[in-house]
């Protein structure tokens, strides 16, 4: 291989950018141990009190629970619908395939703020009771395009002759879907589920305009920040960083294992 004089510069640049991306997270983690209730430099004293408060805060537990309900329901619905849509477009789209896909992807082109207010006007017009269900409907709109995009990308590499062979052996459409197409799509399903979960779990704008009396975790964080309860918010954020870091690590390790196991 040629020696590459550009590589060290690119590497240094990447390190700098990662520092930039992580700097706010370090600051947040630092202040989560700060004794003073007001976040300002210099830091005085070390405490775990904010974490203790966090575990005692039942409203927060309820919000976390609501967030999980919304995220899991969103994942379930948007993965099921999105995979179906991608397969449907791939199989039966024909010359309308492009148009159908474009239509499915338009919500990506719309800022969250507008998805939220459009739903609000819609619910308002029909006097709908706002609840977690109305939130989930919005989150699915927001995540569905990503699922379709991911699944469609995977289907590009799909060998249609597999389905045709199954058809010739007398399998029905849904059997083929279950036994042939879905297994092939598995990585895309997991990726799409992960993506939807992340998007839904952190969403605050769509939720703000569509929720009734049920707070989700980001909504709770939002109101805590607005009313000056920052140290506890710092601890929530720190826990999220640690949890997602651990999650990413596990994901990476299992992927490594899978790669080692597969022969290319």
């Amino acid at each position: 291989m040629r020696r590459d004089p550009v590589k060290p510069f690119l590497a240094a640049w990447t390190v700098l950018v990662l520092l930039f991306l992580f700097a706010p997270l370090f600051v947040v983690a630092l202040f989560s141990f700060n004794e003073s209730s007001i976040s300002r430099f210099p830091i005085r004293g070390f405490t775990l009190a904010w974490y203790q408060k966090l575990f005692a805060n039942t409203a927060l537990h309820e919000a976390l629970w609501n967030s999980l309900i919304v995220a899991i329901a969103t994942v379930a619905i948007s993965t099921a619908l999105g995979i179906g849509a991608a397969v449907g477009i791939h199989r039966y789209g024909g010359r309308y395939g492009g148009a159908l896909r474009s239509f499915s992807l338009t919500p990506m082109m719309v800022p969250r703020l507008i998805i939220g207010i459009a739903l609000l006007t819609f619910y308002n017009l029909f006097q709908t009771n706002l609840s977690l269900l109305t939130v989930i409907a919005g989150h699915v709109v927001m995540t569905l395009p990503y699922v379709i995009l991911i699944a469609s990308a995977r289907l590009v590499g799909f060998d249609k002759s597999m389905e045709e062979a199954a058809w010739d052996l007398g399998a029905g459409t849904f059997t083929i879907f279950r036994e042939v197409t879905l297994p092939f799509l598995k990585p895309a399903v997991v990726a799409a589920a992960l993506m939807s979960f992340t998007l839904s779990f952190d969403e605050v704008v769509v939720t703000f305009f569509t929720t009734g009396n049920d707070n989700t975790l980001p909504m709770m964080i939002w109101s805590m920040l607005r009313f000056g309860i920052t140290p506890e918010v710092n601890s929530i954020a720190t826990l999220t960083i640690v949890a997602s870091g651990a999650f990413a690590l596990v994901a990476e390790m299992s992927l490594r294992r899978a790669q080692v196991g597969s022969t290319r």
């Binding site: 209730s37 300002r40 619910y123 977690l132 990585p187 990726a191 009396n213 607005r226 009313f227």
Partner: protein, 364 residues
Amino acid sequence: MSRETMNLLLPSGMSRRGLMRLMAASGLLAAAPASLRQAFAQDKSLNYFTWSSWGAPEFVADAKKKLGIDLKPTFYSSSDEMMAKLRGGGTRLYDMIVPVQNYIEPAAKAGLIEPLDPAALTNKKDIFQQFAESPQWRVDGKLYGIPFVWGANAIAYNRKETGEVDSLDALFDPKYKGRIALRDEPEDTLAIAALKLGIKAPYSMGEKELQEVKKLLISQKPLVRAYWKNVADVQNMLASGEVVVAWSFLAVIAPLRRAGVDVGWVWPKEGAIGWNESITPVKGTSKLKLVEEYANFTLSPEYGEFMARNTRYAPASKAAIARLEPELVKDLGIDINNVGRLVFKDIPKDKSRWNEIWNEVKAA
């Protein structure tokens, strides 16, 4: 995003059956909260749409202990936000709110609130007369609330940096360039600019006066560090030394002093913006009796004392104030003899024009 990108994010090993089970379970869970709410409709809980101060955990615990009522608080940070949420479907969600006096008429006319039975409010006898009998709480002869708390939005200042402050001039003083904060709320900010210009009745300003106010605020912009939206923001700005003089809520003072910042609080001599607040039932609540019970409780000397000790807000109950030591009363930042200095918030003649003027100031 391509498949390659996404595949990098995958953990392997999630089974199809596991995924299906997850989907089924989450469908059930999503439907649960709505049906649970109905099942509990007859219990002693109140959905309480309120300012953060009145829904703090200690107040929730107090209501549970003294009345056996479960308060379920949700917060707003401005009166307009309260109105917008109520109109956007909130009347079906909440049992009671804590409006400021000037929103009673619009809320009643828009059919968002429900009157109270005066006979249920036995603690009214202890409330200062100017609040208990205020016409702002009555629409078409019906009573929509008796205030339990009152106060003023006024000036908070960093004593070490500014010395004593007694006038609105401090907010317009080039000496404090870049260290002044105002509230991002036309009802407060246009009104104090009007007071600074010597306009005595800010809420009935005409277009000519509004233009003068706008000019003054635009000329002041270079001096201002930021317009704050939430009370936490102004508190942080004062704590971090970002600003030294700010138009503020009283709520910032106690935490700042606890954190060792020497902040002063003053009703400027040109006037401060007065407010009072009451428990008011939301239209169509199925728990009117319970709301009335809680409303009466907030007028009691016990509640007033508890509130003053916890939040430093001033009770509207004479009996509550009588229970407090003089030192604490001084800390409440009120002066019942100087109520004349307050301009009580009212509905501007043309509200959307006020909003527009304020947007023009911000965009200038």
